[in-house]
């Protein structure tokens, strides 16, 4: 893949278009191995109350130092809570990168676009690099971009469902119409799903569950990495149009008829 194809995001030049989430791995060491093979530039983490009794490791020690840490605001049910978590995350040392995730609906974990927009407005003003997880809607994506979102992250299908890009129709429109990068987040279940997103012209994808709960998360992480660069390369190389009829790839050899020309 073209070495010069870097993604400009939050003032950085991002090499890997595969963002990886750190939830659901059976162990930190396993997660570390997966991150080492996938080599993401951006890795997401969450925040939680410390349980003084349990002596769990510090997850940050298992994430390559080269990675940009992006905390998410999971658990937030409105803009204020998201803002509060973002500030805690910054104080805790993840720096300015924040994935806004505001969810009211506990069944499908679908984002609340309106509260998410409010959080984008506040945090962008405070200098955060804001990547909102959102429901694919052009009008709200425009507002988030105008409010200073560094990218928009529409869902492909519900978080952890591994159902793929079921929202393709709407995501394709975002890709064409929104001026900031479009990163598909949530629901991608297989490398071919991620590859498809990149072929559509998405700037990147964020994957967590499909890697973390695979039988072999390390091999799956590598598979996603390769599929993402393949899809990006295909997008840049110009996919041929599809047609309804067949078009021979071999000459329809004449000699078999023995016709006298």
């Amino acid at each position: 893949m073209n070495m010069e194809d870097l993604l400009a995001l939050g003032g950085r030049s991002i090499k890997s278009r595969l963002l990886i989430g750190t939830g659901k791995f059976s162990s930190y060491p396993l997660m570390k191995k997966a991150l080492e093979v996938a080599q993401p530039d951006i890795v997401t983490v969450a925040l939680r109350r410390v349980d003084a009794s349990s002596k769990t490791d510090n997850i940050l020690e298992y994430i390559p130092k080269s990675c940009i840490l992006m905390a998410n605001t999971s658990g937030a049910r409105n803009a204020d809570e998201a803002v509060r978590i973002a500030r805690l995350a910054k104080a805790a040392g993840t720096g300015p990168w924040i994935k806004i995730e505001v969810v009211q609906d506990q069944k499908y974990l679908l984002p609340d676009n309106l509260e998410t927009l409010k959080a984008v407005e506040t945090l962008a003003k405070e200098g955060f690099i804001v990547l909102p997880y959102m429901s694919p809607d052009l009008s709200m994506a425009r507002r988030m971009a105008d409010a200073g979102a560094a990218a928009v992250m529409p869902l492909g299908s519900p978080i952890g469902s591994n159902r793929g890009v079921k929202t393709r129709e709407l995501v394709e429109i975002l890709v064409r119409e929104i001026k900031v990068p479009v990163i598909v987040d949530a629901g991608l279940g297989s490398p071919s799903d991620a590859c498809e997103c990149m072929e559509m012209g998405c700037a990147a994808v964020l994957v967590n569950t499909a890697i973390a709960i695979a039988r072999d998360p390390v091999a799956m992480a590598k598979a996603f990495k390769d599929a993402v660069s393949a899809g990006r390369a295909a997008y840049l190389a110009g996919l041929a149009a599809s047609g309804n009829k067949a078009s021979a790839s071999s000459p329809l050899t004449g000699f078999l008829r023995n016709e006298i020309l």
Partner: protein, 66 residues
């Protein structure tokens, strides 16, 4: 005197500072962030904060998330 640490009520007899509390709980300062009555307190300020009755303290750290 009582205070709320991560949602659990605790009581103490004699005065206690934030850093003393963290130490008492055996929490590693490097991996946590502390919120005292909804404002974030940077490590260097922990000694300055003496717990008062009904104080609400949150001690947060990073975990895996997508």
């Amino acid at each position: 005197m009582v205070f709320i640490l991560n949602g659990k009520q605790e009581s103490i007899e004699k005065p206690l500072s934030l850093d003393a509390l963290i130490a008492a709980k055996g929490l590693c300062p490097e991996k946590i962030v502390v919120e005292h009555n909804f404002s974030i307190i940077s490590k260097e300020d922990w000694p300055k904060i003496m717990l008062k009755d009904q104080d609400m303290i949150e001690v947060i750290s990073f975990v895996g998330g997508g």
